[in-house]
């Protein structure tokens, strides 16, 4: 069959058009589905551990650090005075720095300066997991953003990715700075990133996280966010709650009742 120059050009043009439109269609479809995934619809999971922090109850005793102390001793967290080296799993920050987006005129004055307990949000779509080059951090089926310290190479990409500052790097050998080592839990070593693990080692034994058990006011409520009848879900139905920086689309699993 003899093909004319005109037919050849026409065929080539049509082929390019077909391939191009296929790519475009795939890109549009792909983006649509990824947006749906990254919004992290929690109903998809059977279990999504989460926490509700009642700031009204938390404020009752302003100097209380029971949750932080419980976590520190349970997880062998080094106590370092240099703020650049500090390791934080649960810590506090003033209200206005935690929720800058709900500062409206004079409205913030009632809560200004109150310490808000902060921890890893165990996001529905965790940015730290997306960037980890060794899969040392990943999201478990029950929603916990877990870390495998054996695999962490200390690149700190996760720290750069986390918008909540929930991750700490061991700049110094932590062992000499742990007041009382809990033999049941490993310490970490220099050059490894660590963060809150929602006490997965306690959950495995059927216990609640150490901070939740330690709180004298029961201001921290832990449970399965995917279960409509769980304690945190009941609280969230009754009261107005906020998450930290929800506009980033990470889907935090820690809610604050303000």
């Amino acid at each position: 069959m003899k093909i004319t120059r005109k037919d050849f050009l026409r065929l080539t043009g049509l082929s390019f058009l077909a391939v191009g439109s296929m790519e475009a269609a795939r890109a549009i479809a792909g983006r649509g589905s990824s947006v749906k995934d990254s919004s992290g619809n929690p109903a998809k999971r059977a279990v999504q551990w989460g926490m509700v922090v009642d700031l009204r109850k938390c404020q009752k005793d302003k100097g209380c650090t029971a949750c932080i102390q419980a976590c520190d001793s349970a997880h062998n967290i080094p106590q370092l005075s240099d703020p650049r080296h500090q390791v934080k799993w649960i810590w506090t920050q003033p209200y206005e720095t935690v929720f800058p987006y709900i500062q409206n005129g004079y409205a913030e004055q009632s809560d200004a300066g109150i310490p808000v307990p902060l921890m890893c949000n165990h996001c529905a779509s965790p940015p730290c997991v997306h960037v980890c080059p060794t899969q040392a951090t990943w999201k478990r089926a029950d929603g916990i953003v877990m870390m495998d310290w054996h695999r962490c190479i200390g690149c700190r990409y996760c720290m750069a990715a986390c918008p909540y500052g929930s991750r700490s790097f061991n700049w110094v050998e932590p062992r000499p700075h742990i007041p009382h080592i809990n033999p049941d839990f490993p310490t970490r070593t220099k050059g490894v990133v660590e963060k809150c693990n929602f006490c997965e080692e306690r959950l495995a034994k059927g216990l609640k996280p150490a901070c939740v058990d330690a709180c004298p006011e029961k201001a921290l409520v832990f449970g399965n966010l995917a279960d409509p009848n769980s304690e945190p879900r009941k609280l969230l139905r009754k009261r107005f709650a906020v998450q930290r920086e929800p506009e980033l689309g990470t889907g935090p699993s820690v809610y604050y009742l303000v």
Binding site: T137, W138, D148, R175, P176, I181, P183, P186, T189
Partner: protein, 170 residues
């Protein structure tokens, strides 16, 4: 050939120097049948697996445990004799074994300084580690490498990495 004496003496010295390791190992005073002087647990007779398996493959077992506990949340180990153990280095292994008198002695003997378990894990379920970083003792008994045990152990370690990790991308 006036220097014959010097040349022969130098050659003899050279041969002696490069064959020192062989002479050193085969000195009659050295007992090559000596096995590591380890202290066995007193409170238990049976380990989580038969002794032969543990001797050659304990590192594989530990790596499997580590993978299953950390990555899969699977904490119970059903042993060959149907006993159920907690997969825990500190809690289970060191509940019976003593780090210094068992792990360290054999590792030193075999010239295996590799695993850094103790940088993070506690050497005993009841006794917390001293608040100072662990230092690994240098091998004092290097000629025993000739026994081939260390080569065997090293080859085991190289093959213990789990081949696949679960994809974590959501």
């Amino acid at each position: 050939m006036r220097d014959r004496l010097w040349i022969l003496a130098g050659l003899a010295l050279f041969v002696a120097a490069i064959t020192v390791p062989f002479w050193y190992v085969h000195t009659p005073a050295r007992d090559l049948t000596k096995i590591p002087d380890i202290t066995l647990p007193v409170n238990q007779k049976q380990c989580v697996a038969p002794v032969e398996y543990m001797r050659t493959s304990h590192m594989k077992l530990l790596m499997t445990w580590r993978f299953q506990v950390v990555r899969e949340g699977e904490r119970k180990y059903v042993a060959f004799n149907h006993k159920v153990y907690n997969k825990s280095l500190t809690g289970t292994c060191l509940g019976c074994h003593n780090k210094e008198q068992f792990c360290d002695r054999c590792h030193t003997y075999a010239g295996v300084s590799g695993p850094y378990c103790w940088n993070c894990h506690n050497p005993s379920p009841t006794r917390a580690v001293a608040a100072a970083p662990e230092t690994i003792r240098p091998e004092e008994d290097a000629p025993n490498l000739a026994q081939g045990l260390s080569a065997h152990l090293l080859s085991q370690i190289r093959h213990e990495q789990p081949s696949s990790f679960p994809r974590s991308r959501p």
